[in-house]
């Protein structure tokens, strides 16, 4: 199964060592962006090259890997990355959040609460939260250094001035342990509260931008807001049409040419587990575990 032409998990040991050193520094300074010598990976930038490198540096032969893309285990990005590690590392893979020891994710945090010992690896397109406010990288680094984060609130001010509320709905800026302002990668702001106090280790890798940052377990993470416009996580105001869950993040799916639509959990593992337990939504049918296997 494993492709013997490659080192374990594709990257050579020296590269993994370099990445692990960056990871250690990132864990030591929560929210701080650590530069690292990002390698070219056999997939295009924007497909999770940063996350893949972090995962490769973390994997051991005993690990159980889960890869999700927008919460789903069966989308292109998730399938290709999972296959990549099956081929180059030969690790066991799973779709179950609870059984996985390393979870690489794009744009979601699983609904099921993570436990101690698990590692959640995020794919990050733009690690710099101040990027579109201050174009100079030298200046943004200085702003992080001196804790000058007033500009981040200018963005939220603009949101309220234009839309009457904070309209930023993903990649919502957070402050880590009262120090660094961090871009949590483009997760919906619904997931922001899950960043804080998580029992799992959370690692963020940006391949093109060559940055790694991290949240060690039980880190305090606060979403930025105004006193009179407090942070509110949002989701579609529906229940899941397949499993009936009322508190999970939903995808809206158009199902015919007349514009009928359904709302389904974006976390496929969460949805399937619930259906196996007998929950049924508006358009769902009772699950038959035997038929699925």
């Amino acid at each position: 199964m494993t492709d013997q032409a490659y080192n374990f998990a594709y990257l050579d040991e020296q590269t993994k060592r370099m990445i692990r050193r960056a990871l250690l520094k990132a864990v030591a300074i929560p929210g701080y962006q650590v530069p690292f010598a990002s390698r070219e990976m056999p997939m295009p930038y924007g497909w999770g090259t940063g996350g893949v490198q972090v995962t490769a540096a973390c994997l051991t032969p005993d690990d159980v890997l889960k890869v999700i893309d927008q919460g789903a285990d069966d989308t292109t990005n998730a399938v290709s990355i999972r296959k990549f590690f099956q081929r180059t590392a030969g690790v066991e893979v799973t779709q179950s959040t609870a059984l996985a020891s390393v979870i690489q994710t794009r744009h979601r945090i699983p609904e099921t609460a993570l436990s101690a010992g698990q590692i959640l690896v995020y794919q990050v397109p733009i690690p710099e939260p101040l990027r579109f406010l201050e174009p100079r990288e030298t200046e943004t680094r200085k702003m992080h250094e001196l804790e000058e984060y007033g500009l981040m609130h200018v963005k939220l001010y603009e949101d309220i001035a234009r839309h009457g509320q904070i309209a930023t709905s993903y990649a919502y800026p957070v402050k880590v342990e009262g120090r660094y302002v961090m871009d949590p990668s483009p997760i919906p702001k619904f997931d922001n509260p899950k960043l804080s106090g998580s029992a799992a280790l959370q690692l963020f890798g940006a391949g093109r931008e060559q940055r790694i940052y991290a949240l060690p377990p039980f880190t305090d993470v606060v979403s930025l807001d105004f006193d009179d416009h407090p942070f509110t996580p949002t989701k579609a105001n529906h229940d899941c049409d397949l499993c009936g869950a009322s508190a999970s993040y939903l995808d809206e799916v158009i199902i015919d040419d007349q514009g009928s639509r359904m709302f389904v959990c974006s976390d496929t593992d969460f949805c399937e587990t619930r259906r196996e337990m007998g929950h049924v939504g508006r358009l769902g049918t009772p699950s038959n575990k035997g038929a699925q296997a």
Partner: protein
């Protein structure tokens, strides 16, 4: 000279001594020294290349001078500005100081609405209440004669004169005590210039601001400045009360400068 001030006026607000900056072998400015008192407006005039902007950049901490001292009277006593650590200097620059650029595009965030531009300094010093920030921004737009209905427009939709007034509002919103201005009326036509000067004069008197204004336009300093410094080749050749210097210039260069003004 007006003496409206909130702090004891027995010490100058800014004390500058022997300030020198050279670019390799070329002199930027040399051996400049002066005192600026609270509530005073100091004009610096001179031809292009005479070291006016170099001097202003050194004073405002944008550039490090080769020699000299700049002592600023902070709320907690006099401090040597040049020996401040960078965080302290940047804090000073967004609280007690303000810098009005010649080109408003350098001083404004063009992609952010007028209200956001004015509010930025407030948020930078810790304001976290949207309603209060907006109220203050709209108050300041009114004070610089910008229609408050345009609070959500971007500066790119404003005329040059409005952009300059917006920049002034953005700088004055945190109530600074010392304002640096680099050719604030450059590039504006005369009627807009007159209106801006009128506005500036009002704000300076009303807030008791101390201002260092660099310009090559003698009419501007005649209107605004209490005291005048004339620079030539990086050195101060003459200084004194504005009317005294302009009406009775002593140095040959000042005489030339005054006589070069076009009469209409």
């Amino acid at each position: 000279m007006t003496l409206i001030s909130t702090i004891a006026a027995d010490r100058p607000l800014l004390h500058v001594d022997n300030l020198t900056k050279s670019y390799g072998g070329r002199v930027g400015c040399a051996d400049v020294g002066f005192d600026l008192w609270p509530g005073e407006v100091l004009g610096i005039v001179g031809e292009s290349g005479s070291g006016k902007s170099t001097l202003l950049s050194c004073l405002a901490g944008h550039m490090a001078p080769d020699q000299g001292t700049v002592v600023f009277e902070t709320a907690s006593g006099p401090r040597d500005v040049l020996s401040l650590s960078e965080p302290e200097r940047r804090r000073l620059a967004r609280t007690d100081w303000a810098y009005v650029h010649q080109n408003p595009r350098d001083g404004l965030r063009m992609g952010v609405s007028a209200g956001g531009n004015v509010g930025e300094r407030l948020m930078a010093v810790g304001a976290r209440h949207y309603g209060q920030i907006r109220e203050k921004a709209s108050d300041w737009l009114g004070r610089v004669e910008i229609d408050t209905g345009r609070i959500d427009d971007r500066p790119s939709a404003f005329s040059g004169g409005m952009q300059q007034r917006l920049q002034i509002a953005r700088n004055l919103v945190t109530g600074p005590r010392l304002v640096f201005m680099d050719e604030p009326t450059g590039g504006l036509d005369v009627s807009v210039q007159a209106r801006l000067l009128d506005l500036l004069r009002g704000l300076v008197r009303q807030m008791g601001l101390s201002v260092i204004i660099v310009t090559h336009d003698l009419a501007v300093v005649r209107l605004l400045a209490d005291r005048l410094m004339v620079m030539k080749s990086g050195r101060v050749v003459e200084q004194g009360l504005t009317d005294q210097v302009l009406d009775d210039p002593q140095h040959a260069y000042t005489q030339l400068l005054v006589s070069s003004v076009l009469q209409v």
